[in-house]
């Protein structure tokens, strides 16, 4: 399943570190600690979602039927694919195949743009149907608490909005990486930033893996 690869190239070691191994382990640990932080950042929103779903169960179920699960599912597939291309990009970077790395990073970027495009379509249709929770929110259905539905859409827009913001940040970082590798390439591709970006990108995918069923499928 796993293969070991010994990198036979040398990366520059920053002055505070003793060697490449210590440097790599430090960056890797730092990224995981940062991701633990990200997990709790989104965790606050998920807590709010769980609590309100418990309080306004019927309204949440009714409200979620107005979301298009097909678009959500499409976006899930797009993000999963981008996770695969990202993983392959990291792999080629460690193997020091810089041309392939650039290709995979650009593919990941393209998929990320696709994700944002689908989001744009979704957002505009929701806003056109008066489901923007801060404007003239209209939700009329027999026996359904409109306030609960409005809270559902409040959470929908904040959760997917913040997630989308993370996607945008990911696009910027990947663009910067491609630029760096293409124009400033030295003898060796410094794979550490690419590997860390990979971890970040997979985390963005992870959040969506939970957002999709919660928002689109089961309300």
């Amino acid at each position: 399943m796993s293969e070991a690869h010994v990198s036979d190239t040398h990366l520059p070691v920053a002055h505070q570190f003793e060697d490449e191994e210590q440097q790599f382990q430090s960056y890797s640990l730092g990224m995981w600690v940062f991701l633990a932080q990200e997990l709790l950042f989104f965790g606050g929103l998920f807590t709010a979602f769980i609590v309100y779903r418990h309080m306004y169960f019927d309204a949440f179920v009714a409200a979620h039927h107005k979301l298009d699960w097909k678009l959500g599912g499409l976006n899930t597939l797009i993000l999963l694919t981008s996770s695969l291309t990202m993983a392959l990009g990291v792999r080629t970077a460690i193997l020091n195949n810089y041309k392939a790395t650039i290709g995979w990073l650009l593919a990941t970027c393209a998929l990320a743009f696709g994700f944002m495009g689908v989001k744009y379509v979704e957002y505009s249709s929701k806003i056109a149907h008066n489901l923007w929770p801060a404007g003239d929110f209209v939700f009329k259905q027999e026996g359904i608490d409109a306030g609960g539905a409005q809270i559902f859409y409040g959470l929908y827009f904040t959760m997917t909005g913040l997630h989308g913001l993370h996607v945008l940040v990911g696009i910027l970082i990947m663009g910067w990486l491609v630029f760096r590798i293409y124009f400033k390439r030295k003898e060796v591709v410094d794979y550490i930033p690419i590997e860390l970006t990979g971890l970040y990108w997979h985390f963005v995918d992870l959040v969506w893996i939970f957002l999709f069923p919660l928002l689109y499928l089961i309300g």
Partner: protein, 105 residues
């Protein structure tokens, strides 16, 4: 000093990806077509969350390569999850027990 990297091969990546896609279709199908309730328990949400957790586990273990990462990285990933669960459980404990009544109190 050289750095050793253990990482999955391409075949593993593709298998994991296909599993993720398969699970996505499964969760959509089950949510749209099955409506199973066991007393007050809604089995749909339990199934959906279970599938999402499985998918997350696959992404974390293989794509993020936590499988081959240091024990420290694993510990910190676990710590994030642990404190998240504390927030869920203790936070929700208020909302589910707020309207409990005890005879005679």
């Amino acid at each position: 000093m050289m750095t050793e990297h253990k990482m999955p091969d391409i075949k593993t990546y593709v298998i994991v990806f296909l599993a993720l896609v398969g699970l996505t279709f499964f969760t959509v199908y089950s949510a749209l077509n099955w409506h199973v309730k066991l007393g007050p328990l809604d089995l749909n949400i339990i199934l959906a969350i279970a599938i999402a957790c499985t998918k997350a586990g696959l992404v974390i273990a293989y794509f993020m390569n936590l499988k081959n990462s240091s024990k420290l990285a694993k510990t910190w990933a676990g710590a994030g999850l642990f404190f998240l669960l504390i927030m869920f459980v203790f936070g929700l404990s208020d909302f589910v027990s707020r309207w409990f009544t005890v005879e005679g109190w």
